[in-house]
């Protein structure tokens, strides 16, 4: 047990472990101290100074977020001194800020706006320093960077560096010139940015936001000549509620479907269908590679195989490990598999000319916007996915349409390409793809279900940054004799910093895995860059619980049992990794530059 320290905050005694900050101690007493540069996911910066508090007997105020407690401290969080100083600081921030909230994307969900409202900053005596000399970079398909809304808290830089180890953003210059910049201040689309959007969900203001396509989707819906298909990723159904005044972790699948129908989408389908398909393809690819490497000694398609359903991760890989691209599964992400099938298989089924079809996807992710824009993603003959909206953008549409979300009835996805299994649902959580793949691959090889209670492969679950598991394969079916007694070594990592660690180990041959699941965002898609703000571990945990509940409540929990999947192979694709699959469901990767 570590040493306890006693102190007083606003006259109330509190006892906390040594090393606790004043902010955390105050939290324990449910005393709120405002913060801006502080974020639970990130290291402490202590630069915004809005969290300053008074230490009785000291002439200086201290930053509550950055100052550890001491025995006998007496802290005041709301003294006259503190309030005046804090107000000055907020006023200063506003003075260098382009604060026309009504024209701001974060209007209504902005930490600076909240603070300004709380402190009733109605007069602005300070000189306006925001002179409009700032640049807006909106050339990226995913991210818009508006420096005029930036408070220079560096949350984005810490996110991009610490959580993601991408380093697309950095702080440049000093003094009054100090700003958040990319390499030589190039456009975000030209640099190593993975489009993961983690900076967006960590930004307290409207300085970093997703590029929105809401208007284009409304236009498509309003166009009578267009058949608008929408697909929804798994993590949206456990995140959307938060944007619509429900608690974190609310499962809203049925209401969401119902809302989409009311918004006017012509077909409301499920990305989870292609998540199941991904398992079929990727699982087969894994088994194929195992055989080639272990039996035939053919290493042209090497092990370990890494997943490829997270486009932020894919782009990161292309920038960072260009020599290892052949480790990456050739499977497209479920979104892009869906897009390619929507304008081929599905279009034919419902007898719509693919040229008149608009394919929209709702994603917890900003990188998917970029992915849909990749020139390779046109295997249907057109752009496979036309517009990608985030969970947040869908919530905006629902609000715009005046829909009272919580009162909606539960509805079912349209068919075909609307059915899914629990295996697809768990794609939304880190470890989910691994678990889903194991559920299927193990059964293909042995004819039996994975040896875990209720199919819950708990070792690959959780929020630990890197998790390892191994599955012993015994009593295999005749076709898979070469795997008898083998130990399938798996690794799961989420957040690109963890991904980098794992892949560097693979590169240096320090580890021997067969299969690695990587999700660009901490927590997996449930913590994606398109999810509700705020997102932190507490909230990630709730969303994760919701995902596993959703899985547990499904009758079908293994991808290969999805009847629509069976049907599509029979009617259209042939077999996993077959010719048609190859054309529509698989892709290739390219080396990318290092800045």
């Amino acid at each position: 047990m570590s040493k306890m320290v006693n102190l007083k905050i606003n006259g109330i005694d509190v006892s906390v472990e040594a090393g606790t900050t004043i902010l955390e101690a105050a939290e324990k007493l449910k005393i709120k101290i405002p913060v801006l540069c502080y974020h639970k996911d990130l290291c402490i910066a202590g630069n915004c100074r809005v969290c300053v508090v008074e230490v009785v007997g000291s002439r200086k105020l201290v930053a509550a977020c950055a100052t550890p407690v001491n025995e006998g401290l007496e802290i005041l969080t709301n003294s006259l001194l503190v309030r005046n100083a804090r107000k000055d600081i907020i006023e200063l921030l506003l003075s260098e800020h382009n604060a026309d909230c009504t024209k701001c994307y974060r209007n209504g969900n902005c930490e600076l706006q909240d603070l300004a409202a709380e402190y009733k900053i109605t007069n602005q005596d300070f000189i306006d320093l925001a002179h409009g000399t700032y640049t807006i970079d909106d050339l990226s398909p995913s991210i818009v960077k508006d420096d005029s809304r930036c408070i220079r808290c560096q949350r984005c830089v810490r996110t991009c560096t610490e959580l993601q180890s991408v380093g697309a953003l950095s702080v440049a210059h000093k003094g009054s010139e100090m700003k958040i910049s990319t390499f030589f201040d190039r456009n975000i689309r030209e640099v190593v940015c993975t489009n993961c959007g983690q900076c967006v969900i960590h930004c307290p203001t409207g300085a970093l936001v997703e590029k929105t396509y809401i208007e284009r989707v409304w236009d498509a819906i309003a166009d009578p000549t267009k058949h608008v298909v929408v697909q929804t990723a798994t993590a949206v159904r456990i995140g959307l509620g938060e944007e619509l005044e429900l608690d974190a972790g609310s499962r809203v699948t049925g209401k969401m479907v119902s809302a989409l129908k009311r918004l006017g989408f012509d077909s409301v389908l499920d990305t989870d269908f292609t998540a199941d398909l991904t398992i079929m393809e990727e699982g087969t690819e894994l088994l194929h590679r195992l055989k080639a490497n272990l039996v035939e000694g053919d290493t042209s398609e090497p092990l370990p195989l890494t997943t490829s359903c997270s486009p932020g991760w894919v782009k990161f890989f292309e920038h960072t490990f260009p020599d290892m691209l052949d480790h990456m599964s050739t499977c497209k992400s479920p979104q892009q598999m869906f897009g390619a099938l929507a304008k081929t298989y599905f279009a034919k089924k419902i007898e719509v000319d693919p040229e008149n079809m608009v394919s929209v996807s709702i994603m917890p992710c900003t990188a998917k916007k970029y992915e849909a824009d990749r020139p390779e993603m046109r295997d249907s003959g057109q752009k496979d996915v036309d517009y990608v909206l985030t969970t947040r953008e869908l919530a905006v549409m629902i609000k715009q349409a005046g829909i009272q979300f919580s009162d909606l009835p539960e509805e079912k996805y349209d068919s075909i390409m609307g059915q899914s299994t629990g295996a697809a649902v768990i794609f939304g959580a880190t470890g989910g793809v691994m678990e889903a793949a194991l559920r299927t691959a193990y059964e293909i090889v042995t004819g039996r279900e994975v040896p875990f209670e209720n199919l819950n492969i708990t070792p690959v679950r959780g929020l630990e940054g890197v998790r390892e598991a191994s599955v012993k394969i015994e009593n295999v079916l005749p076709d898979w004799k070469f795997l008898e007694g083998a130990e399938l070594k798996c690794c799961v990592a989420h957040g690109l910093a963890n991904a980098r660690k794992v892949m560097e180990k693979v590169q240096n041959k320090e580890v021997e895995y067969h299969f690695i699941e990587i999700m660009a965002c901490p927590g997996g898609c449930l913590g994606g860059g398109g999810q509700p703000i705020p997102t932190n571990d507490e909230i990630r945990k709730k969303r994760m619980d919701a995902i596993y509940e959703e899985d547990a409540n499904m009758t079908l929990r293994k991808s290969h049992e999805n009847p629509e999947v069976v049907q599509i192979y029979k009617e259209f694709l042939g077999e996993p990794l077959g010719k048609e699959s190859h054309k529509l469901l698989h892709t290739e990767y390219f080396e990318r530059q290092r800045y």
Binding site: T161, V166, G167, A168, L169, S170, V171, A172, H173, K174, S181, T182, F183, F184, V191, V192, R594, Y595
Partner: protein, 154 residues
Amino acid sequence: MTDIQQLVGELVKKHGTKREKLLPILQGVIEKERSLSDYAMIEIAKQLGISAADVYGTATFYSFMDTEPRGENIIRVCKTITCFMKGKNQILLALEDALKIKLGETTPDKKFTLLETNCLGWCHKAPAMLINDEIYTDLTIERVHEIIGEYKNK
């Protein structure tokens, strides 16, 4: 291999690849090239295993690490209080006159760049300026023309 790659390679050989060596390496490039190009920074980032934006962000913090092309001789005139009081503005005008460029510019022959800087630590001999690493103090208009003449003839 380009010249820059070779230069960075040599510097990395001399200093190693630890993050602590970033400044000495950047300074090494500046010494030879007078400024930091994007190529140089990408190469340094690669060698040190850090992001290029990080190198850029670090370099731009330091006012002696120029990211715009600079002349062979960088003149930095002190603009802080004592030099200001002792006639820095006249010195600057004299320099502009001698070099036929404005503050912040580089001569077309790439020989000189004219900049301002903060206190050089020679206030008792103000006004002062640096040309590359050389210090010049107790400046007068005549002295400025003399000095520039010497550099032009170098």
